[in-house]
Symmetry: C2
């Protein structure tokens, strides 16, 4: 007998019919002898409806009251799913975040989970019930309702799995797993059977929006095996687990990309301590998030060039701020480009394998794709290229590393020579 935590998102519970389908699926697991805890989101569209109501009343709604408001979305779902389960003859009991003691800090609308008291849930499971828990919400020490911010239901599920020491946390979504890259861009993209937490973090933060980043971090920290599956099709999905458990010896797991980037360069700034702070300080003060930061060695004796990327929505504002900084620093020029994209190779295997970068650059060069920026980390190599090359670049790399093959050239044995 296993203890499984399953999480169903808004699309999976978006109608009475879909809630009934989820109940059927949950019952199947329980009939196999497993204990099942189900964490659910609000029915799709409901959270947006509530937020729109609030905005009609208050331009910037009070965060505490916002949490009281939107937390009703999940509360509706837990009640309906429990009814659907009972209707199938499967005993079930619902809990709000407060009732099951998902204790968080008091940062309304973006609270973080501190701990969960699993005693009550365990008792219900032992009594043969399926436990249905409202995701995305908790309660602070003062008894106030909190929410974890959008997408937080994944984190609720992982935290619940950690608290209950569950055998697996299953995230049901509208895709059937994690792919080597976006199948809409590379039709030969292959579903991965396994991926490590670290790789998943890089893939998620780079735009493969399958899982919430914090949920993956949480799962990694508490060593909760995490599985992404489809709500609508049968299948094993993708298991996200610790590195030592990974059987595949792949160097590259996948190719992530981000379309929403823009880059800014300030040319000819004095090459002296404190300059980077003087450039990025005002950007940060304006609440603009910076992604890649590159500073090469000084081009001449006295000055250097400094480049960074921001979200495309922040481009104009960042450029303005940078203009002021340039005047103060007596920099030569400010350049910018908001028609760029970032493409990244991700894989824990690359740590121990030389030649991945050069093989990547060669593949891009072969297609005549000029690389604008390069940045690397332990398990990732990112390049910035002109937006028009996104699809071509992703396909070229997917091909170069044979990612469409399960036992591919991307494994250590074949790639070492590059």
């Amino acid at each position: 007998m296993s203890l499984i935590v399953q999480k169903y998102g808004g699309t999976s519970v978006g109608s009475v019919e879909r809630i009934n389908a989820v109940a059927e699926r949950v019952k199947t697991w329980r009939d196999l002898g497993d204990q099942v805890v189900v964490v659910v989101s609000a029915m799709s569209g409901e959270t947006d409806r509530l937020i729109a109501l609030a905005r009609k009343i208050q331009e910037r709604p009070n965060p505490r009251e916002m949490d009281v408001l939107v937390s009703t979305g999940e509360q509706v779902t837990i009640a309906l799913l429990s009814m659907a389960l009972e209707n199938l003859g499967c005993p079930a009991k619902s809990y709000t975040g407060g009732q099951v003691h998902i204790r968080t800090d008091s940062a309304h609308c973006k609270a973080r989970i501190r701990d969960i008291d699993g005693v009550r849930v365990k008792a219900d499971l032992d009594a043969g019930r399926v436990v249905v828990v409202a995701g995305f919400q908790g309660v602070d020490d003062g008894g106030n309702i909190t929410t974890l911010g959008r997408g937080g239901s994944d984190t609720s599920a992982v935290a619940m799995a950690a608290a209950l020491n569950a055998d697996e946390c299953q995230i049901y979504t509208d895709v059937d797993g994690v792919y080597t890259t976006d199948p809409r861009i590379e039709p030969r993209a292959r579903k991965l059977d396994r991926i490590t937490f670290e790789e998943m973090l890089e893939m998620a933060s780079l735009g493969s929006k399958v899982l919430q980043i914090r949920a993956v971090e949480f799962a990694g920290k508490y060593r909760v095996p995490l599985r992404v599956l489809s709500s609508f099709e049968a299948g094993e999905g993708t298991l996200i687990s610790l590195e030592e458990e990974t059987v595949e010896d792949a160097v590259i797991s996948g190719i992530a990309f981000n379309r929403d980037e823009a880059k800014l360069t300030i040319l000819g700034v004095p090459d002296q301590p404190g300059v980077a702070h003087k450039i990025l300080g005002p950007i940060s003060d304006a609440n603009i998030e910076v992604d890649m930061i590159i500073q090469n060695i000084a081009a001449d004796e006295a000055t250097t060039d400094f480049t960074f990327t921001v979200h495309r929505n922040d481009y104009e504002r960042a450029r303005e701020i940078l203009g002021s900084a340039a005047r103060i620093l007596a920099a030569r020029e400010v350049l910018g480009d908001d028609e760029i994209v970032k493409i990244s190779l991700v894989g824990v295997g690359m740590r121990s394998h030389a030649g991945i970068a050069s093989r990547m650059f060669a593949a891009l060069a072969k297609e005549g794709i000029n690389i604008r920026m390069i940045s690397t980390s332990e398990i990732k190599i990112s390049v910035v290229v002109d937006e028009k090359y996104l699809e071509l670049g992703v396909r070229a790399l997917h091909d170069a590393f044979d990612l469409h093959l399960a036992d591919s050239a991307a494994t250590g044995s074949n790639s070492a020579s590059n």
Copy 2:
């Protein structure tokens, strides 16, 4: 400085615009220096929407989960109203039934309030906040969400007023007070400035659906002055209070009526102990509520006739059951009529005044209205007449007791001679 509890029903908070209007009104009271607690219902239509969702999933929805579901309706309103108040610069804080410790028994969907812990609310009021509380809901000893049954928000408000020892509990609704009778039937019906709890109970149970009966009982028990006012118009409304505080010396306060009655008679049953039980036992077992019960003295030595009224929806079923009972009791015949109505004179003053009944019967006789049944209590006289006479009867009585006049013939001085 007074402490006022205000309750706004579903229609009063039925849209963003109306919620803003309620906020304006609450702020007006607070600006006058009063401490205000606001109890609200779900936005009109919302509870029905949620119940319909549940019924699509489970024919007879699980009561515990039903409470989890429908309690979200009020939770949405408290958040939105608190935002609207903050938007007007009026500090506010919302509480669900559970958060403010409205403790009830565990009878889901029809729970009864046991006690309320007013400490948290008092602290907020003393800090200058308006406190917004979800009506209709509470929490049982196990931490389960409960609801009081439809209309229970009135009871929540009265219970809150009792717990806080409030100076007044104001029920805002879509009528501007309690009338001598339904103005749609008698255009000269007059709004009462005051009425006693007992009179209000008789008026409410007889079909003047201004206030929930339990709320009036509660207010009477805990001596909470209760006021019914309009959400949409200015005015003093009607104050419901203890008899000794009533300044008007009225004999008759109003005329209530009930259209939904049907009567059943079993003729020629043996006049012996236990017969009434044998007749009504099976009716009660079928969960049919009986209103009036009349048994006259035996018509001959051995048999008597027994008559009672039920809700018109239960007429056919009651008649069937009575048929079986009649065979067992060897009764002569079963008669029934579902085209009857009940009209009642209500007034605490009638206790001490003779002649009210005969004056009533005379007024009806003058219009040629035949009385089918008569039943009396301390502060009420009810008659059953043919349905077609409802409007005529109500108007005749309203006129006979001069109820359209504030200083009317219904007062003791004028009516004593009848």
